[in-house]
C-alpha cells in the first residue's frame, strides 16, 4: 500500500537548487533557496502570492534573461552532467532546449496545430517531413490529444477549446524531448473537469519526465505531486513528501498556510 518511503537523499535526483538567490533590480526576491528535484517525480511549489514560486520556476529555464535588471546568485545543477543552468557561460538557449515550459494561459501560436507542435523541432533545424510527422504524432499522443486532432492537423490552433489548447501547448513542450517539464499554474484558466483531465495527464507524464509545477491551488498540489515545497516571502520554508506536508508538516508556518489559518 504505502511503500515505505525512503529518505529523500537516497532517491535519484534530476536537479538541485543550491543557495539560490534572485534579485529583481534592488528587490531581493528569492533568498538562499536549496532543494532537490527528484527524478521522474512531480514536485509542487505552493505558497501565497508573491512568495517567489513562479520566480523560482522561471529561473530554471532562464526566462528572466529576457528582461533587464535581473540577477541570479547561487546554482541550479542539472544531473547527470552537473551543468549549472545559471552559469552566464551556459547559453540560455541550450538550457531551454533541455527544459520545456507550459504557461498559465494557453498560448498556442496563430498557426496550424501541426506547426505548433513541431515548432521546437523547426528551430533546431529539423526539416525532414517524415521526422517531423513522427514527432508530432508522438507528442500529440503523449498529450492525449492525437485522437481528437489527427484528422485536422492543419486547422488553426485557435479552433480548439481551452482545454485542448493547453494540451496542445503540452504536446509542443513534449516534442522537444525535454529532461524537465516546467508547469506554471497550468490549469488556473481552465474549468474543473478539464483541470482533472490535465492532472491525470501529468500523472502519466511523470513516468518519462521530471516535473516541476507551480500552483496556487493547494488541493491540486495534494492531488498531483509526490513532493511539495512551501514558500513564503522568497524563502523555502519546508520541503518534503506531499503526504507528510499535508498530514503532519514540520513547520508551523506550513501548517498555518495549509489549514488556512493565514494572516
Amino acid at each position: 500500500m504505502d511503500p515505505s518511503r525512503g529518505a529523500i537523499s537516497e532517491l535519484p535526483i534530476k536537479a538541485e537548487v543550491r543557495n539560490f538567490n534572485f534579485h529583481y533590480g534592488e528587490f531581493h526576491a528569492l533568498k538562499d533557496v536549496t532543494m532537490p528535484l527528484c527524478e521522474r517525480k512531480v514536485t509542487a511549489l505552493i505558497g501565497p502570492s508573491g512568495c517567489g514560486k513562479s520566480t523560482l520556476l522561471r529561473s530554471f529555464n532562464r526566462m528572466h534573461d529576457l528582461y533587464a535588471g535581473n540577477r541570479y546568485g547561487g546554482e541550479i545543477i542539472l544531473h547527470p552532467d552537473q551543468t549549472n543552468l545559471l552559469d552566464p557561460r551556459v547559453d540560455p538557449i541550450e538550457v531551454r532546449m533541455r527544459l520545456s515550459m507550459v504557461f498559465q494561459k494557453p498560448n498556442p501560436f496563430p498557426k496550424s496545430i501541426y506547426e505548433n507542435v513541431i515548432y521546437g523541432q523547426r528551430v533546431r533545424g529539423v526539416t525532414k517531413r517524415s521526422v517531423l510527422d513522427d514527432k508530432a504524432e508522438e507528442a500529440l499522443r503523449a498529450a492525449a490529444l492525437w485522437g481528437e486532432v489527427k484528422h485536422r492537423l492543419h486547422d488553426m490552433a485557435f479552433a480548439l477549446s481551452g482545454g485542448q489548447q493547453q494540451r496542445l501547448c503540452i504536446a509542443r513542450a513534449l516534442a522537444t524531448d525535454p529532461e524537465v517539464l516546467l508547469f506554471d499554474e497550468p490549469t488556473s484558466a481552465l474549468d474543473p473537469i478539464v483541470t482533472a483531465s490535465i492532472e491525470e495527464l501529468i500523472h502519466q507524464l511523470k513516468e518519462k519526465v521530471t516535473i516541476l509545477i507551480v500552483t496556487h491551488n493547494m488541493q491540486q498540489a495534494a492531488r498531483v505531486s509526490d513532493f511539495t515545497a512551501y514558500m513564503y516571502l522568497g524563502e523555502l520554508i519546508e520541503f518534503g513528501y506531499t503526504e507528510e506536508i499535508f498530514i503532519k508538516p514540520r513547520d508551523k508556518r506550513t501548517e498555518d498556510y495549509i489549514t488556512g489559518r493565514f494572516g
Binding site: 500500500m1 504505502d2 473537469i193 491525470e200 495534494a222 492531488r223 506531499t242
Partner: protein
C-alpha cells in the same frame, strides 16, 4: 461504481477496500481458529492465534494511514467520504474482534493448563454461539464488499439472538457453579469466553451500521432495531 477522472484515486480507494477485505478474512480466520482451539483443547493452536494478532494490529495502522492520506490528498466527497470515514471505524471494530479472538485463545490456554475439562455441555453451547458470530462476521464482510444494506440489517438482527444466547449460557453456568463449587474457575473462564464472543457479535453489528452509512448515508447507530428498519425504508 463508475470511475473517477483520476485513475490514481480509483486505485487508492480500491487498495483500501482490498485491504479491509484482507483484514476481515484474517480476523475471521483468527476467530474460527480460537473457537476451534477452545472446542478441541488445542494448546498449540491457541499459541499461534495469540502470535498472529500482531498482523491484525499492523493492518489496522496501515489502513488508517492510507485513509488519512486519501483525505489529505484527494478531498473525497459524498460516497467516497462516507466510505473512508466508515472504513476507519470498521477497521477499529475488526481489530477489536481480533483482540477478542486473542482473549479467547488465552483463556483456552488457561483452561487447558488448569486441567479440569468439565462443563462439556456448556462448551458445546458456547462453541455453537461462536460459530454463529463467525458466520455473522463472514456475512457482514460480504455485505461490505457489495454495500448490501439489506444483508447488513440482517446481521444487526442476528446480534439480538447472540445476546439472548449469551444470557442463557450465563444462567446455565451459574447453575452449574452453584451445584459444584470446584468448577467455579473453569466455569468463569468459559463465561469470559462467552462474553468475548458476545462482544464479537456487537462489533459485527457496528460494522453493519457502517455499511448502512456508506450505502445509504444514514447514521443508524443507537436507534435500536425498529428505528434502524424505519430509517432503512426511507429512500
Amino acid at each position: 461504481m463508475s470511475e473517477h477522472l483520476s485513475k490514481q484515486f480509483d486505485s487508492e480507494l480500491d487498495s483500501i477496500r482490498a485491504h479491509v477485505t484482507r483484514m476481515g478474512g484474517l480476523v475471521e480466520e483468527q476467530l474460527r481458529g480460537a473457537l476451534s482451539a477452545f472446542g478441541e483443547s488445542d494448546h498449540e493452536l491457541s499459541r499461534l492465534i495469540i502470535e498472529r494478532d500482531k498482523g491484525v494490529d499492523e493492518l489496522e495502522v496501515a489502513i488508517d494511514t492510507a485513509c488519512a492520506n486519501i483525505v489529505a490528498r484527494r478531498q473525497p466527497t459524498a460516497i467516497d467520504l462516507r466510505m473512508v470515514m466508515a472504513v476507519s471505524k470498521t477497521v477499529t471494530d475488526l481489530e477489536r474482534i481480533g483482540d477478542e479472538a486473542k482473549k479467547i485463545a488465552k483463556a483456552t490456554r488457561k483452561i487447558i493448563e488448569r486441567g479440569n475439562g468439565g462443563c462439556l455441555a456448556q462448551v458445546l453451547q458456547v462453541r455453537h454461539m461462536g460459530e454463529q458470530t463467525a458466520s455473522m462476521l463472514h456475512e457482514i464482510l460480504d455485505a461490505f464488499v457489495r454495500l448490501d444494506f439489506a444483508a447488513a440489517a440482517h446481521v444487526v438482527r442476528r446480534d439480538k439472538e447472540v445476546d439472548q444466547h449469551f444470557r442463557a449460557t450465563v444462567r446455565q453456568l451459574i447453575t452449574y457453579m452453584m451445584e459444584d463449587p470446584r468448577t467455579i474457575s473453569s466455569a468463569l473462564d468459559v463465561i469470559f469466553i462467552a462474553k468475548s464472543i458476545e462482544r464479537v457479535g456487537d462489533h459485527c453489528k457496528n460494522i453493519a451500521e457502517d455499511v448502512i452509512y456508506i450505502a445509504k448515508g444514514r447514521d443508524v447507530r443507537h436507534l435500536g432495531l425498529k428505528g434502524l428498519v424505519r430509517e432503512m425504508d426511507v429512500p
